[in-house]
Point group: C2
Chain length 340, copies 2
């Protein structure tokens, strides 16, 4: 009975666990490292410097327009590595499932992870599955950690933005956040908004091929908390004042409509396939032009400037369309739970 | 209101998330890598070969005699690295919390992680926190991934057990499993059983200092699924028949009593501070004697032998106290959910 659902036994570490892993995951993610099934994977890393990151994904709903929790959990960690200028190489996969989850859902997610991993050119090197009782988790949570190789000449940092540098975003902002909000709501919207969930490692690699490594001060992906949060982190990390212009920020008309309807600010909406780059002004156009040549960066734009050093009052200012200026504060309150 | 509990806002990625991370985690886990708060950590790894592993912890109850989910999630991953012969260096920490979890619980767990990390001599290099709504997770789940440095002369493998090798366990088995079962039950047991949750990296290091690296064929920690599962994995991985003797396996009398009472087999109970070593017979005594000099290995014992190569019928045999032999199968059914 219940052969088509996740049972507690699938988390016991015994025969059922073994079968689940072999049938659903090993068959799709198979590679020489993972299939050894050791307690830990042995990796050959021809580098002195590596990047390491972790992220847990608890998104609701688990399937959404443009992606699902499986692809998202690959993209999220690949992008965190790419934002350090690293070449993503190995991911780990920690899956927590709720008893009663349908096996065909597990299969669909495993399939999606497998596709995302191939697209981003990384290997799942280590994996773990756990099962908790019905009502003790909401369907499925996924943690991915990642290791990337960091070229010796790349040395990005949240403290490296300096006056004169340009702020670039790689495309439309707010797609992921508004897609999820719409998927959750019962609003009678005719147009579906697709999440922008995508790997950014290729785009970043192309940028570093096009301009000197030290002309890129730092990269960040504006996920949870959105563009506003990332810009605040940069202004605080580098102790600078940043000024951006509302009319330069690429936002899709349908995202604007959703935001107006729901009373949300697109600057705070999550993105899962966009990066913010702080770049030496001399190379800003070249970076944008390079991005434009990729699907992921087709709508890249310079949206602002690092204005001045300020030890006491780091802040982000927005020049509004009607000519005023307002402070863009760090998000407080107004949670959008489980957006990633 | 509710200032003493986890709120959805703590997972928003904004101000509340920042405060939570700074107050509870950064203050305790502070180190030059983590405190940079980049999207990914930059690590210097002076090694060609590294070990990489991941594990999610969903244990219930989160506090138990001898440990808690915080210390367990450090020990579990440190041990998975040590079982590969690697020196654990960096961990990541992915925390999923349920709305309404008391902040003093978060604080106690952060404190425990901090102590465990110091004891095992590793750094938390990357961290992530997520919050899900009330009833969407059971209190707190923790994922840790880990990176360890692997000396070039160490090359362990599940396929390396060969006839004549001795099977060693580093101490009493079944402590963790019976501790958790007892903590969950309402049995009027007078003696409390402590979980054996502990880091094994120091013990492993001492063993490798005492004997030639290639005399250790492989190491495994018998966590979920217990000793029986690990021995089955070894017999299958190396295509060998393994024979162990019931009267040589170290089991505490109180663990035996609990097992008899609950109708459980201690061979299948989880351990969180024990290792199984398959060792060249010539060096088996030396390994056991080396283990005896450490607290973690005080009760180490040789419990059996790899008997013969067998491509078709890898299996584990138990010589019982009364002189018979029985097959020790892979666990099927009888789940002990959320034991780690």
């Amino acid at each position: 009975m219940n052969q088509n659902k996740i049972l507690l036994d699938h988390g016991s570490g015994g025969l059922a666990t073994k079968k689940l892993i072999e049938e659903f995951f090993l068959s799709r993610l198979n590679n020489p490292v993972l299939s050894r099934m050791e307690d830990s994977a042995v990796l050959y890393l021809p580098a002195d410097k590596v990047a390491f990151t972790t992220d847990s994904f608890v998104i609701d709903p688990i399937f959404f327009p443009g992606g699902d929790i499986g692809s998202l959990s690959v993209h999220g960690t690949v992008n965190d590595l790419a934002m350090q200028g690293a070449k993503p190489k190995f991911l780990s996969l920690g899956i927590i499932m709720e008893e009663g989850l349908e096996l065909k859902v597990v299969e669909r997610i495993a399939e999606s992870i497998s596709r995302a991993v191939k697209e981003a050119d990384v290997l799942i090197a280590a994996a773990d599955t756990k099962v908790v009782g019905k009502g003790q988790a909401d369907k499925i949570f996924i943690n991915t950690s990642g290791i990337g190789i960091l070229p010796n000449n790349i040395n990005l940092g949240i403290d490296k933005a300096s006056p004169g540098d340009k702020i670039i975003v790689s495309g439309f902002i707010g797609d992921h956040g508004s897609s999820i909000l719409l998927a959750r709501s019962e609003l009678p919207f005719e147009t579906e908004i697709l999440s922008d969930s995508a790997p950014l490692n290729r785009l970043v690699e192309k940028v570093f091929q096009a301009v000197p490594a030290d002309s890129i001060r730092l990269l960040r992906d504006p996920t949870r908390g959105g563009l506003a949060t990332v810009l605040n982190e940069i202004s605080e990390g580098s102790r600078v004042k940043i000024e951006i212009s509302e009319d330069l920020i690429p936002i899709r008309p349908e995202v604007k409509s959703v935001c107006e309807l729901l009373g949300l600010d697109p600057l705070y909406l999550a993105n899962e396939g966009k990066c913010v780059a702080v770049v030496d002004a001399k190379y800003a156009d070249k970076v944008v032009n390079t991005m434009h040549k990729s699907d992921e960066g087709k709508y890249a734009a310079i949206i602002g400037t690092v204005v001045e050093k300020t030890d006491d009052f780091p802040l982000v200012l927005l020049k509004t369309r009607i000519g005023g200026k307002r402070i863009v504060p760090l998000l407080s309150g107004e949670p959008l739970p489980r957006i990633c």
